[in-house]
Symmetry: C2
C-alpha cells in the first residue's frame, strides 16, 4: 500500500498543511518508507520533487514543508514498495508529455499481468507496475487522439474506459493530471473534501498542527483535497465508493460516475 | 545569453561547489535573472529542480547548495530570457523520455527559424526556441532509430549531425544527456576541465569560496565540469573551439570532433 494526496484549486494554493500530515505517514505514523514524490502545476509549467527515502527523514520533504509553492494542481505519493526496487526511477509521480502538456500519475495498488499489456510510444524508465500502467494509458490516449481532442467529454470518456480496464487487474487507486484536470479512480480507498467560504480551521490527524483557513484564503477560493485516508480530524471527508471515476477542475468535482 | 554548467563523473559526485559559483551569475555577478534549473541523474533515475526567478534570490537554489545530491551527471542552466516569457515551462533543462531513458537538454543561444522545423512525436510545453530544438532532436532520433540503437557510434553520429544542423541557425551552445553520456556542442563559448588524482584545491571566480578536493575525493575519481565560462581562478580550463562536438562519459571526454 502507498498513500496518495491530490489537490485541485481555482487559485494558486499551497499544500504545505496537507503535505505535513502525509509526510508523517512516510515512516512515522505510517509504514511508507520507500520514497516519496510531489508534483506541482503552475500554469502550463510543471515541477516535481522526488526522494527515494522515507519522507520523515527527507531533507527535500522538510524543504517543501517550509517553502510555500503555490500551485493549481498537486499530485503527491508516499511509497511502500511492492513491485520494483527502492530507487529514484521507481518513485511516483511519473510524468510524460502528451499534446504539449505534462501529464503526471501516481498510483496505489498492484496490477496483475500489467506488463503483458503492449505499450505504444511511451516506455517506462523504472520497473514498477504503476509506471507501466501510466505509459500504457498515455500510449492508448495518443493512439485514439493523435492530436489533442477538442471534445473534453471524449477525452474524459476515453480516460475512464482505460482506468476501468486497468482496475480489472487488481488494486487501482490513482491520481492523474494534465495541468487542467485531475482525474481519479477509486478501486479500494480514496477520500476527498472541498474547502470554500465560509472557511474554518482544520486539525491534522497525524501531527499536532492546526490551521485557520480564514487567515489564508479569500472568499472566492475553492480547493479540493483528495487523499487515501482523511488527513484532518474535524472536517467532513467523503469516502469515494469502489469503482468511482471522477474529474476535478478548478477546485470542484466536475464529473463523477461509477464504472 | 544564458549560462550552462554540466558535470560527468565516474562516481556519484556532488556539484555544490560549482553550482555555488554559477548561482552568483544569476543576478549577482551576472545578469541571468530569468530563472534557473538543474537536473541530476542518479543511475537511471532523474530529478530536476526549476525556479522561474533569479538564482541568487531562489530558496530552491539555496537548498540545492546546502544539500549534497550525489550524481553521475548534471545539467544546469541559468536564464537570460530572449525568446519565450519568464515562466516555469520556459525554464531549462527540458526533459523527455526516449527508449525508456530520460533525456535532458539545456541551451544557450537563439536559433533563427527553428520553429519552422517540423516536429515528430515530441511537442514543446513552453514557447522557447530551445525546447523546440530539443523536441526536434529527439523526434529525429526516434525516427532514425525506432528502438535504441545497439551501436553507440551510430547514435553519436546521428546526434552530431542533428546538432550541426541546428548550429547553422544561430548560436547553439548545448548540453544534452541520456543518463549515460553528456553530449556537448560549442557554437561560441564553452569551457571544460577534468579533475582527477592528484587532486588539489580550487577557488571560485564568482564567490570567495575555496575547496580542497583531496578531502572530498578518492584517488580513482574522475570528474569533468563543463561551463559557459570557467568557474575557478586557479585551474586550467580548456576553451572548446567553435564547432566542437564532444561526448563525455564516466568523467572523461570520450570523443571530440570539429563539425
Amino acid at each position: 500500500m502507498c498513500e496518495l494526496l491530490g489537490m485541485s484549486a481555482n487559485v494558486p494554493t499551497d499544500i504545505c498543511f496537507s503535505f505535513s500530515g502525509l509526510v508523517k505517514r512516510g515512516g512515522d505514523t505510517g509504514v511508507h518508507r520507500d520514497g516519496w514524490g510531489i508534483a506541482f502545476y503552475e500554469g502550463k509549467g510543471y515541477r516535481s520533487f522526488h526522494d527515494p527515502i522515507a519522507s520523515v527523514d527527507s531533507e527535500v520533504a522538510k524543504f517543501i514543508q517550509s517553502y510555500s509553492i503555490k500551485s493549481s494542481q498537486v499530485i503527491c505519493h508516499i511509497r511502500k514498495a511492492n513491485r520494483g526496487r527502492v530507487s529514484l526511477e521507481n518513485t511516483h509521480p511519473f510524468s510524460r508529455e502528451l499534446w504539449g502538456q505534462v501529464w503526471s500519475f501516481a498510483h496505489n495498488g498492484q496490477l496483475k499481468g500489467i506488463k503483458k499489456k503492449q505499450l505504444l510510444n511511451y516506455l517506462p524508465v523504472g520497473s514498477t507496475d504503476s509506471e507501466h500502467a501510466f505509459c500504457w494509458v498515455l500510449g492508448r490516449l495518443r493512439d485514439e487522439f493523435p492530436v489533442k481532442p477538442k471534445s473534453k467529454v471524449a477525452l474524459r470518456r476515453c480516460i475512464q474506459r482505460l482506468f476501468r480496464e486497468l482496475a480489472q487487474l487488481g488494486v487501482f487507486n490513482v491520481l492523474m493530471s494534465d495541468a487542467q484536470s485531475l482525474y481519479t479512480y477509486c478501486s479500494t480507498k480514496l477520500s476527498w473534501l472541498t474547502r470554500q467560504a465560509p472557511f474554518d480551521s482544520a486539525r491534522l490527524l497525524d501531527a499536532d498542527v492546526s490551521i485557520d483557513f480564514k487567515q489564508e484564503t479569500s472568499s472566492n477560493d475553492v480547493v479540493t483535497v483528495i487523499a487515501t485516508e482523511p488527513l484532518t480530524s474535524n472536517e467532513q471527508w467523503t469516502q469515494m465508493v469502489v469503482g468511482e471515476f471522477s474529474q476535478f477542475r478548478l477546485g470542484r468535482k466536475e464529473f463523477t460516475q461509477l464504472s
